[in-house]
Symmetry: C2
Subunit: 383 residues, 2 copies
């Protein structure tokens, strides 16, 4: 049977047709006035999405590149860094800092749970000499479907001078992240999640404290040098050749987000999550994350007893055209993940649940067909 | 909430992304070798879709243009024409013939029912002098969701020499129509239904008997002159400027259809119909057409007692992004129609049913949420 593809992974996410169309344009000179006008418009838009007055710097890179840029611009070899990790991406942020010679202290939380602000506050209270230079946080832990409470974690810093650096790769523009209001020093994200354009751009925004740290940071850098990017930015340019098509798309994607309204976008993501979780619950499936820390961007689901997660993914993809993500590291084949970040509508959740019901039934699980859909419909109708 | 549009009307239908992409090309000279090669490839492909050895002639026009071309190329003013009608489009075919001076005898069947081959055979048997020059048939009556049995109707002609002219605008490439094997003299269709490209092209195919009639037909014509089109066709050209982008798209659309396989395309359309009808039945809704004559391309549904069809359409469109078609003429506001022709997948039917359940519930009907979806899932899983 003919299928229509549903890309229900937490990135790269579906790109709206109007964004794809906007990208389909001839190249322009990235040193000319046309590019400059576009780039300045984009830079202003990104500040609104980052909820900051600080500049947002763009790198031609994956989201991981933005994390590397964050590390090398803030830190020097030997710096003590407290890396708060709730999963694969928290670990990655820590690993990048370690590779560049930071003295990384991990603060791990069980996968599927959120970082505890109380534990963070306690650790900082012990650090009387203020040896900790930076705290690495993950806003949305994509590997487990957990949203960390950045506002509370930032507050837990209290009077400690450590920089707060947030990996917002899969969260920015999907869930509220008030960089300035919450006192976050650095926010990093990527293009291929809630920004709804293809992969290829990483972004960091740095506040004044971060820029002061940048001036002292001694980790080696050329490509990721924030000073160079900031200097070019003032002229509406990039220090090296930017992915022009992605910027065409980003111009349109920012319009999409702002036409919907950032607050409405956040509400939609929570609604999609709630539809999905209610539907899963009706089917007797258990999300990895508890409801109070459940991510509005991605839901990790425990495979039911006796059914391999990969078999569910395979059947969903091959028979129904629905692409889900798998589990990573110790969660491999134990969970599957449903991305609902970016250009996702309620109907996508209905399709995911309806096909999941069939797939689980075909894999031998006792499923009342339509019951997951019904639970999601109820959430949808309340809205 | 952000919506993704579902165009569930019986034309224009959804255009596959790869067809849209194929259309997005610079213009070429329609008198040059590049066009000629493309047009010859298309002409060969259309013959396979029409299931005929005869040439398929293309007109820059709506489907209605193809019907007009059919009439003016086959008939002369004063000719007796038996117009078999089961709805709006049967009436239209008759009206075109009448406007050009044919002596039209209508054979009407109640809307929602199919044409009866026995009644046709009886009428032809009375026509001892063979005064009837042509029989106008509608394969798929889009206004009522009825599929007429063209094979049986063509057989009912028996030894009578009347030409059989079939309006296949919403049926060709959605349901089996064996032009040569069933002895059909003329088949007319349009681009915007199962051919999965945008509106703008009409097609007719004529067999040898039809060409003989064409040589004698005296209705006035210039634009619709089949001789001119056929003469150009031999040179891989059109007599006047063709919609080049649509031909780019048609090249790709024929590939889509043939990759899926014409027989599989027919099976899919029947499956989509069955999913929808089972779902509707579970919700207590009644299709206009009985199951033995139900169209694989479009389903007309009686609005439930006390609920205006237009209110259902409005709510579906505005709240859920699902566009349905309304009733025409005496069926206005009494039915709504769900198109499932062309680029339609099973997931589209699931979404249509899930949102219809919510819309009906919101309009006060007692609906068990998920029950229509469940009935459709069962059909889907059997396949």
């Amino acid at each position: 049977m003919l299928q229509k593809p549903y890309l229900m992974v937490p990135g790269p996410t579906a790109v709206p047709e109007r964004v794809l169309q906007a990208m389909h344009r001839p190249m322009i000179n990235h040193r000319g006035p046309q590019y400059e006008a576009m780039f300045k418009e984009i830079s202003a838009g990104l500040k609104r999405l980052f909820q900051t007055e600080s500049d947002v710097l763009a790198f031609p890179s994956a989201g991981t590149g933005a994390l590397e840029a964050a590390v090398v611009n803030m830190l020097s070899p030997g710096d003590l860094v407290l890396a708060v990790s709730t999963g694969v991406f928290g670990d990655r942020f820590a690993e990048i800092a370690a590779r560049y010679g930071a003295n990384v202290e991990k603060m791990d939380f069980a996968w599927g749970t959120a970082a505890d602000p109380v534990r963070l506050a306690e650790r900082l209270a012990q650090d009387e000499n203020h040896a900790i230079k930076a705290i690495l946080l993950t806003h949305n832990e994509t590997s487990t479907g957990v949203m960390n409470d950045i506002e509370a974690l930032a507050k837990a810093r209290g009077g400690h001078p450590a920089l707060i650096m947030v990996d917002a790769v899969s969260s920015l523009a999907a869930m509220d992240l008030r960089m300035d209001a919450w006192g976050i020093d650095l926010v990093a994200t990527g293009s291929q999640k809630a920004l709804m354009i293809p992969p290829g751009l990483g972004f960091i925004a740095m506040n004044e404290r971060a820029w002061a740290a940048q001036a002292e940071a001694k980790m080696p850098k050329f490509y990721w040098d924030a000073q160079a990017v900031k200097k070019s930015l003032a002229k509406g340019q990039n220090p090296y050749t930017p992915p022009v098509s992605l910027f065409f798309g980003l111009t349109e994607a920012i319009k999409c987000i702002e036409e919907e309204g950032l607050a409405n976008v956040f509400t939609r993501h929570r609604r999609l999550r709630d539809m999905l979780r209610q539907g899963l619950q009706a089917l007797g499936l258990e999300p990895l994350a508890a409801s109070d820390v459940a991510s509005p961007a991605v839901t990790a689901v425990k495979a039911p007893e006796g059914i391999e997660a990969k078999k569910i993914q395979k059947l969903m993809r091959e028979k129904y055209g629905i692409t889900l993500a798998g589990g990573q590291k110790q969660l491999e084949n134990k969970i599957f993940r449903v991305g609902h970040v970016g250009y996702v509508a309620a109907t996508d959740i209905l399709v995911t649940l309806a096909t999941l019901e069939m797939a689980l039934s075909e894999l031998g699980m006792a499923v009342e067909l339509g019951s997951g859909v019904r639970a999601a419909q109820k959430v949808m109708m309340e809205g």
